[in-house]
Every structure is written in structure tokens, then in C-alpha cells.
Symmetry: C2
Subunit: 267 residues, 2 copies
């Protein structure tokens, strides 16, 4: 909320990490500016935002553009939206970008930890039925299966079992064993994740998990299974990540306006 002049360079400050490749549009700049203002305490939790018309004047854009910006904040759970009343600030918590969510390494750095990754095994073999279905390959198609141990400041935290279709696996196979971020390396080869489906539940540690995470066989782990796709909708990765208890939690915001979360019976 510093300047308001749209041509100015001051808009879109430091609060929210920019997604690489996110185009710098007007409404994104306005959104970033409002996010910064909220984070800076200009509008505390429970405060009311200026009216759309007032914001449109201040930023010298149309009301439609302001509404696009506010829709972003709404989706992040930062503000409410209801007819007849000005928007109310719900939370001043910082929100993670998609990139931080998809990449363990980027996430770790964003919270001030030192990420590590050690590749234990890479094999190429025919995919199992579930894997082929998730990657939308014909059954028995060859896939690359990659087992990695992820650490935070040297401490083992998570076992990652990723499965890739051949065209991606051929790239991953050549990555260094100690690379801390496969997704950054994949980006360098033009492979960009844009969508992901996550399933979160609980799974008992098998003997491999137990050895790597230094826990007991059968101990419960927090499991996140994730299917990521690129912008064409092509599945790029199917992963089974198992976290030691007490290391991470997942948070989701949703509303009547956007329902990204759902509850399912296991299997």
C-alpha cells in the first residue's frame, strides 16, 4: 500500500516469495502489495480492508483487476468476502507458494532449515498397476523408481519414493546422488510442475523405512502421496513420502468459495 502508482517499481515487495515463472501482471502486483500491507500490520487480524472502489482509485486500475487480486487473497484464506460488507482480514500468516510446497528443499530453506537429499537407489522396471494408473501410462510400461532420504540440518526426516515416466526418469537418473532439489534441476530441463494432488494419511514403517529413519518397524509415519502434473495435464511424478512423527504437519484452507480439500476412506 506504499505507492499505489501502478507504473511504480515499489509494488510487490518482499513478503510473499515469487513463484518462478509467475508472470508479473497488474493484479498479481496489487495482491502482493496488499499481502505485504497485511503482513506489515497495516490491517491487523479482524480489520476491514478498503472498499473495492477505493482500492481501484488508489492503484489506478479497474474494479475488475482489484477483484482478481482480492480473489488471490481469498483463496489463501487471508480475507473474507461477503456481499454488503467490506472484506475482513482473517489472518496475517504468511502463505507458502506452490513451489515451496512441491519442493522439499525450497520449503526447508523458506523456514530457515538446511535441506539435504541422498539418493539411495534408482531402478528402471515395469510399473505396478497403481503407478501406471497414476502416471496415466499403459499397464506394464517402464518407469523409473527413485528412493531418497531427506534430511533437515542433517537429521533424517522423510523417506521419498518417487516414480517417474521414462522421459522424466532418464533426466533424474543423471542427477548427482547428493542433489538437494530434484525439482529445481527438473525445471532447468524445462519440466515444470503446475498442479498436484495430495493424499495424506498414516502408514506403518516397513523395514526399509525403519533403517533409513532410525525408527522401529511398524511405527506409524505421516504419509503424503502426491501426483504432480505439468501445465499440459501430463502426469510427471507420483511419490510416496513418509515423515517421522513430530516433524511436519500439513495445513489447508478452504471455504464455500473454494473446496480444495476432501476426506476419503482409506483405500
Amino acid at each position: 500500500m506504499t505507492s499505489g502508482k501502478t507504473g511504480g517499481a515499489g509494488v510487490g515487495g518482499t513478503g510473499q516469495p515469487k513463484d518462478p515463472k509467475a508472470p508479473q501482471t497488474l493484479y498479481r502486483k496489487v495482491a502482493a502489495d496488499l499481502r505485504d500491507a497485511i503482513a506489515a500490520g497495516a490491517y491487523g487480524s479482524g480489520a476491514r480492508l478498503p472498499a473495492e472502489g477505493a482500492l481501484a482509485e488508489r492503484y489506478e486500475v479497474s474494479r475488475g483487476t482489484i477483484r482478481q487480486a482480492l480473489a488471490l487473497l481469498r483463496a489463501d484464506g487471508l480475507v473474507t468476502s461477503r456481499r454488503g460488507t467490506r472484506r475482513v482480514v482473517l489472518s496475517d500468516t504468511r502463505v507458502q507458494s506452490f513451489a515451496e510446497l512441491t519442493s522439499f528443499a525450497r520449503w526447508a530453506r523458506s523456514i530457515g532449515e538446511e535441506p539435504g537429499g541422498r539418493t539411495i537407489a534408482v531402478v528402471r522396471e515395469p510399473g505396478r498397476p497403481l503407478e501406471c494408473e497414476q502416471l496415466r501410462l499403459e499397464s506394464e510400461a517402464y518407469v523409473y523408481r527413485v528412493l531418497r532420504l531427506r534430511t533437515l540440518s542433517g537429521r533424517p526426516v522423510m523417506v521419498e519414493r518417487a516414480v517417474y515416466p521414462e522421459w522424466v526418469g532418464e533426466l533424474v537418473e543423471r542427477f548427482p546422488r547428493e542433489a538437494d532439489s530434484h525439482s529445481t534441476l527438473l525445471e532447468g530441463h524445462g519440466v515444470l510442475f503446475t498442479d498436484a494432488d495430495h493424499t495424506i494419511d498414516l502408514a506403518p514403517a516397513d523395514t526399509e523405512d525403519a533403517v533409513l529413519l532410525e525408527c522401529g518397524v511398524g511405527d506409524a509415519l505421516l504419509r503424503e502421496r502426491r501426483r504432480s502434473t505439468d501445465s499440459t495435464g501430463t502426469p510427471v511424478e507420483w511419490s510416496d513420502d513418509r515423515y517421522l512423527p513430530g516433524t511436519v504437519a500439513f495445513t489447508v484452507h478452504n471455504s464455500t468459495a473454494s473446496t480444495a480439500l476432501s476426506r476419503r476412506t482409506s483405500q
Copy 2:
């Protein structure tokens, strides 16, 4: 995709459960119609949707309205969106409505199970610091604490510990002990949930959990902590739900366009 005439009554069929109170706007009808078409197989997984302009003609609405409808499908993870190409159908899975997610009972019915709820205890006492903060009350404010056991077809599945501010707790206190859906009863009193924040992790069963769920003390449970607010942004409920392993999983969809999910270090 049956008629396309906007005035027609045939739009907005049977596929997606309607949220109670969701206004029947043009774009919602179009979205519902497209969802039905996808679920009915008119556009299989991987197929391309008609162009926005074509849809605008078919439904006799402006392109803006079509785009609003498609934004709903995008948020649900049903279709992709990228410049230069027609939208691609990602999945033909049915998506849960916000109401089904917020209410255990409604969710259970939507998957064909018989929900049950038994209230074990209701107490009124000063809130703990975390509770007051979550409900945005001054510290030491009185709250109602409600302990319930939730069942699916008679089988114990989840222990729910909900905390309410006084104005809500006074209502809940009078609900029947065997009521299967508190949220439906609250709606009857004009209390509507519109936003929720969820934190999902793992917690060991305490003695109370163990007795109610018939498991061992210390066994790992899947925990969902949830803060729900009404349309004014006022916190209405703060709940700690613990599921037996193997009974449920949570799924989330997100994308570069909307990032509702995040990963955090545990407390």
C-alpha cells in the same frame, strides 16, 4: 451440456451435491452442467473442452460468465488452464462440497455410510491459551468444551474434541446426546460455517482416546485440527479430531493458480 438455454430448468443436474445456501447464479449452473457432462463421460480424462467462445455461444452467456464457471472447475482440479490451448480434463472424480467436508455426518452419508455421534461430555470452563487464541477470545474467556465419539455404521472411528465460544456453546449444550450432525443443527440456528483452516498430523492416543476408540494408549492416530469461521470471519469452532488409522485419508488439490495447502513443522 443437455440444453444450453440459460432459462431452461434442465441445467445443474445431479452430479455435484448442492451446498445449502449456495445462490443459483448463471455461472454456477454452467459449472454444474459441465461437471455433469464430465462425470457422464462426455469429456473423458485427457479430453479437451470446447473453447470459451464456443461455450459462451452454447449457453448464451458472455465469455466472462463462462470463465467464472471454468474457474470453479479449475479450483476443483478437474481441468487445466493454459494460454494458447483448450482446457484439458484432468480427472472425472467427484469432488466434495464444503458442507460435506465440514460435517462428518454429511460426509458419511455421501459415501453411503451411516454416521453416528454420541456426546460424552459437555463442560463450560475458562479456555486454554491456544483455544482462546484460535477462537479470537480474550484469554481466560469461558468456552464450551464438547467431547464426542463418532461412528460409521456403529463402528467407532473418531474422537472429536470441539471448543466453542459461549454464544455457540449455549446452543450446542442443548442438542440431544445422540444427534448425528451438530453442524446441521447449528445451521438451523443461523450459524453457518463458510471458511475453515485444517492442520493434519499424527498424535498418540491418550487414555481417553484409547478407551473410546478401543485401541492402545500411545497408538498413533491421524489428527485433524480445524478452526471454522462464519461469513463475518468470526471463529465459531475449534476442534481436535482423531481418527483410527486406516479409516480415512485427506486429499488436497492445488496448483500454481491456487495454493490452499502448506507444509509446516509440527508445533
